[in-house]
């Protein structure tokens, strides 16, 4: 049987890789890819806690479903914003999108 710690360490590592992607990438779309990795790490955590705690309490899976919905919403809005910015300013580099910089 797989101990719980394996899942937790895996999702911690996946979260850290996603965090690195969010902080280090230039391209705004790549930043969103990093966010997806982080959300997946959270989902793995939620499902493994559901399985290892008390499977008859389904809360972990419900949270995962809601995370799916929120991730879909976030990606739709994020990519729409990026495409709109690209149309107006012809760039997707996060550093160059400084319209609101004072």
């Amino acid at each position: 049987m797989i101990p719980l710690s394996w899942f937790l360490f895996l999702s911690a590592a996946l979260f850290s890789i996603g965090l690195f992607g969010v902080l280090a990438r230039k391209n705004a779309i790549a930043i969103l890819l990093g966010i997806e990795l982080m959300l997946n790490a959270v989902n793995i955590n939620l499902v493994s806690f559901w399985r290892y705690n008390d499977p008859s309490r389904i809360d972990g899976q419900v949270f995962t479903v809601i995370v799916f919905a929120v991730a879909a919403a976030e990606v739709a809005v994020g990519l729409a914003l990026i495409i709109s910015v690209y149309r107006h300013r012809n760039t997707v580099v996060a550093d160059e999108i400084d319209l609101m910089k004072w």
Binding site: M1, K26, V47, Q61, I82
Partner: protein, 172 residues
């Protein structure tokens, strides 16, 4: 070492390797394709954890919708960014340090927790997690309100996305 552990280790290696490729690949289309591999790995993990429905949803929603949306967006914004120059910020090593610190902190936190070596309790016979999940999602004394709020959020976000990305007439 059991077969299940072996499968887990293989999947974990695939997930971490492809996640590393997602954040380092120069070509963004490749990064999006590596993301699909990562998401498949996560689906395998959900299947290992007896959450079959979540695994299917992972494939349908994440790979079928979100990853494809990413590929479309990359193709729509490609002209400018095509493998031009470095893909990482100048201060990327600082980000790497922060990521390592976060992982170290999480690992240290987990190390001191006594529930870590827990193994999964056996599922009682006749227990159907899909049935329990669907009951919880629509039952008034469980999660019907958060579920409806999530649906409204999704609708509002999609309407907003269409509005933002819509190209009006006469506008280039």
């Amino acid at each position: 070492m059991t077969v299940l552990q072996l499968i887990f280790l293989l999947t974990a290696a695939v997930i971490l390797g492809s996640a590393a490729m997602v954040v380092t690949a120069k070509n963004l289309v490749h990064a999006a394709l590596w993301l699909i591999v990562t998401l498949f790995g996560a689906a395998v993990l959900f299947a290992i954890l007896n959450a079959g429905f979540i695994a299917v949803i992972q494939v349908v929603v994440y790979i079928g919708a979100i990853a494809i949306l990413f590929i479309f967006a990359v193709m729509l914004t490609r002209r400018e960014m095509l493998d031009r120059g470095p893909q990482l910020n100048r201060g990327w090593w600082l980000s790497a340090i922060i990521a390592v610190i976060v992982f170290g902190g999480l690992a240290w936190l987990l190390q001191g927790w006594d529930g870590l070596t827990k193994t999964a309790p056996a599922l009682s016979s006749g227990f159907d997690s899909l049935e329990a999940l669907s009951r919880a999602l629509v039952s008034p004394d469980a999660y019907v309100l958060p579920f409806e709020v999530a649906s409204v959020l999704l609708l509002a976000a999609l309407v907003g996305a269409v509005y933002i990305a819509f190209q009006r007439k006469g506008e280039e």
